[in-house]
Symmetry: D3
Subunit: 117 residues, 6 copies
């Protein structure tokens, strides 16, 4: 059975393929730039994914949060480190971030559960 | 002669003292929580300041950017690392972040200039 | 049968308990500060809940709207007063608030319906 | 069978009628002003709907995007022109707009599919 | 000598007259709707001005904050009540609101100073 | 004597050169993508600049507004057409856009005055 994180990943994959089909050079380049922004550079990928996660939380975008949660776990951040990052996002962005904190914690639990099974 | 970063720091200090005088327990506690959010924990202070900087950039707050630029430089981030963080903020937040990127680069230059003099 | 407001309340309760389990002192304190911000002070709780509702509407957060609708009804605000608050939020925040106005009016109807049954 | 765009349209119609019943003069006038803002004036309706679409994308409101997608298609904008507008929204608003770009492309596909059937 | 609040008020007055000269019916009606949103209705003007102030703070608009501070003081809100409203805005909107809290406290001090002289 | 629009243009030019010096490939590509997004494509440049202007107004960025006002005037939009676009931005974004409408109208007046002299 598919969890909500898998449903998001499937939808994301399907629509990204559809957008690639649209074949708009500007959009294609933007997606490329977005991918490259998180690759190792002066900062390593692991740090950049955490930056992406906190940016997604203060901008309150659940899909972006889910994407970066997965990336952050894969990059090796521990739960305690992620909670500390959630706390920075919460203090910067305020209580309006709380529904997205709930979502982030649940996504993290789902993804960790998948690792364990 | 005072630069615009010093003017900001003086204003910030003056008004934070004024706000402390207001003596509202909730506000006092919020300021305290804000300070503590960047202290060493599961994540170290250096990483958290970078998170604060990127959050400030995507939320497009120049005063917050200035504050975190100073903290990030003091914490030991190099220019190349900071430019890489600026790039993540730019890609996440889009061209609407560009005026704040200009501000951030100028603030960084001013603060580095102060170090050198 | 459970309505969407009940589903939200159950999810909110479940995830708040999960977040309490996370046991991060900063997050715990933020939740505490958030609760205290709406308690009687120089302004009474009733007024503060209305402030929270309008803030949630202009920031366009449906979960926050649902929470404050419930609190506002429990605090004794009438429908006419709430519509007047919705109108302030609509004028300040613009037509982008309209989907959240639809949500707010529906949540209010659901919650009033629950009172009547 | 109803698609998600039809479900949105039905909900929008139902709640707009409910809001009309609320009978708040300010809210009524706002809805009227909102309708009139897209009527032919110095700019024609077609151009204004495209402005509404891009504004909805950078402000990241899926319901507003769906509404303006429908209006833009009915006003005669081609897919290639709409993709070009999506690209402006993406560059201005950044990668945080991507989930809404996915939504917009899917909504456009659904609506075009309806035209064809 | 003019303070920054007087400078804002003069600029606001001058530009509002200029905008009235533009003679665009939609814009004119929006300004009218905006004025009416704060008049006595189911909620009284005093309460509505406080709603406008908190909405302005969480949306982080200094000009709007200045306008509503003046209106709130004229409507009879005490400093303690305004600080309590500032606190709600701070908790909802997070530390990104702090620069606007500084601005709000300073504006309030300037306006109270004017009353006393 | 230099007006505030000239001061902005000079600062923008200076800092864009400084940012080009930074020599970060991702940032460089983003600036390139941003430029290309407004070039003739399925939509012409003139239409895209108007989209950029409305996006800048609802996102409430004065520097971005100034840039696009200049581009829109150069692209041949009349004042009446620009006021109509301002109105769409005002209705979508609400009264929080008003300070930026004041700024936009003043910038337009300054730029038109420059044309006449």
């Amino acid at each position: 059975m598919s969890d909500r994180l898998e449903a998001f990943e499937a939808y994301r994959r399907k629509m990204n393929e559809r957008i690639a089909d649209v074949d708009h050079l500007g959009i294609k380049r933007f997606f490329n730039l977005d991918t490259k922004a998180y690759e190792d550079g002066a900062l390593d990928e692991k740090t950049k994914e955490l930056l992406g996660l906190v940016a997604s939380m203060v901008l309150r975008c659940n899909d972006c949060i889910d994407y970066h949660i997965i990336q952050c776990v894969d990059a090796g951040w521990t739960d305690e480190e992620l909670y500390d990052a959630f706390n920075v996002a919460l203090v910067v962005g305020g209580s309006i971030v709380i529904p997205h904190l709930r979502h982030a914690v649940e996504s993290l639990d789902i993804y960790r559960g998948r690792e364990r099974s």
